[in-house]
């Protein structure tokens, strides 16, 4: 009769150095080895960990470093841009108005300038660019011819309308700026030339507005009715029509007595200065709205 196998005895044999009979049997089992590809993968990974890229868990450091680099580059670029903006050359170039050099309108002044270009340069607050001094020659001629044409046209119109020269009244339109000041600036722009030409018309319109205002005030003081004010608007609107005569002439007409003023209008008609007669008559009707006009003058004013 055999004795039962003791588990502790088997365990003792298993824990022995040789593992007992089960250990011997186990060692006779096939001893599998990892495939070569696993060896290569593991050894390559170990080499990369030492020499190559950082481990996976440190990749956030790469991202953080990249973000910091981008922020640094943006900051440097911003500072460089600020420095460029603060440089005096850039400020001067940015704030400098765009001048188009043109020749003076007055031929005499042009002659003066051609005789003394150095002094003009010395007076000019904006010296001409030295990089291309001869290049703007063609634009100068173009601008000069254009502005000269405008001014000449205005002069012709004024001459055609204006009566024979009279002594200027004290409230006349202020004279244009002194010619030498403009002649000394060789960079008077064509735009300024145009604005100068239009400024003459604007001054006339302003003077006529003043006349309309004063006439209306006189009429209000004379009649004191709203209807007269409504009538006063009509000549004011019509002032935007044909080119009026000079304000000096109109103001001079206002100083005449009503009979003399009407006689002067009749004289203008006889002289063929119909436009000037119409304007003067309109002003007369605003100044004297209750005056009974003759039929021909009433037809002229309507």
């Amino acid at each position: 009769m055999s004795t039962p196998r003791k588990p502790d005895d088997e365990l003792e044999r298993l824990l022995a150095d040789d593992g007992g009979e089960l250990g011997a049997l186990y060692r006779r089992l096939p001893r599998m080895e990892p495939p070569r590809r696993l060896d290569r993968n593991v050894l390559n990974e170990a080499a990369r960990a030492i020499h190559g890229r950082p481990p996976r868990r440190q990749r956030w450091l790469v991202g953080l470093g990249s973000a910091a680099g981008i922020v640094l580059a943006a900051g440097v670029a911003w500072h460089v841009g600020q420095d460029a903006l603060q440089q005096p050359g850039y400020e001067r170039a940015r704030n400098a108005p765009t001048y188009v050099p043109v020749q003076p309108i007055d031929p005499s002044a042009r002659r003066k300038q051609t005789n003394a270009p150095a002094s003009a340069d010395a007076v000019s607050p904006h010296p001409a660019p030295t990089a291309a001094p001869a290049a703007p020659a063609a634009p100068i001629e173009y601008q000069h011819s254009r502005s000269a044409q405008i001014v000449d046209r205005l002069k012709k119109e004024t001459t055609a309308r204006s009566p024979p020269p009279l002594p200027p009244p004290s409230i006349a339109t202020p004279p244009p700026p002194p010619a030498p000041a403009r002649q000394s600036d060789p960079f008077f722009s064509a735009e300024n030339a145009d604005s100068a030409a239009s400024a003459a018309g604007a001054a006339k319109a302003e003077a006529k507005g003043d006349l309309a205002g004063s006439a209306a005030r006189e009429k209000e003081s004379a009649a004191g009715t709203d209807a007269s004010a409504a009538r006063a608007e009509k000549p004011a609107r019509s002032a935007t029509g044909p080119a009026p005569t000079t304000s000096a002439e109109l103001r001079r007409d206002m100083q005449l007595a009503p009979q003399d003023w009407l006689a002067h209008i009749q004289q203008l008609l006889r002289q063929g200065r119909r436009q000037q007669a119409i304007e003067s008559l309109q002003l007369f009707r605003r100044a004297h709205p209750d005056w009974q006009l003759s039929d021909d003058l009433r037809a002229l004013s309507d």
């Binding site: 009769m1 055999s2 004795t3 039962p4 196998r5 588990p7 502790d8 088997e10 365990l11 298993l14 824990l15 593992g19 089960l22 250990g23 049997l25 186990y26 006779r28 089992l29 001893r31 599998m32 080895e33 990892p34 495939p35 696993l38 060896d39 993968n41 593991v42 050894l43 990974e45 170990a46 080499a47 960990a49 030492i50 020499h51 481990p55 996976r56 868990r57």
Partner: protein, 173 residues
């Protein structure tokens, strides 16, 4: 391992050559699928490489390596845990008390014994198989097995006893 952590790649290659078979067989006998064993083999070494800075010489390298592999296996087993049935357990317990003259394995050929041992290992519950393989394959003692598996000494002994009983039962059938 300290040399490798300091940048000596040859030191790592020596460690790898020494332990690669042991680890691979440990994984293959536990997982039984070569693809799974390959995957966890590479993953074990990857974890070890990544954690090279944390290695302390107080622990045996093989213990540390097998502990990493064991943890990975536990995660795998938790997803596909095999359970021994009550009938299998009863058979094991009956064979424990069988007389030695009635143990059938004596009559088997050596080839048949090796085949049955393989089957017995595959059929062992996870914890018993791990303890048995750590002992029989890696030559670890009770304390080292307990360190790797996180179990106490007596628990390891108990697992080894049950493993032996099941293997005996498998060899007898």
């Amino acid at each position: 391992m300290l040399a490798y952590a300091g940048g000596d790649l040859l030191a790592f290659e020596m460690l790898y050559r020494r332990h690669r078979g042991l680890l691979y067989r440990f994984l293959l006998r536990n997982l039984r699928q070569r693809a799974d064993a390959d995957e966890l083999f590479q993953e074990t070494w990857s974890r070890l490489i990544a954690a090279r800075e944390r290695y302390r010489p107080e622990a045996k390298f093989s213990t540390w390596l097998l502990q990493i592999a064991h943890n990975l296996m536990v995660d795998r087993f938790r997803r596909q845990r095999p359970q021994a049935s009550a009938e299998e357990t009863e058979t094991v317990l009956r064979n424990l008390d069988a007389p030695e003259s009635e143990q059938p394995e004596r009559a088997l050929s050596e080839f048949e014994q090796r085949r049955r041992l393989q089957l017995a290992l595959e059929e062992l519950p996870e914890e018993q198989r791990v303890a048995f393989l750590l002992r029989i394959e890696s030559g670890l003692g009770l304390d080292e097995i307990g360190e790797i598996t996180g179990a106490g000494r007596e628990t390891v002994k108990s697992r080894l006893r049950y493993a032996l009983a099941r293997i005996r039962a498998r060899l007898a059938t």
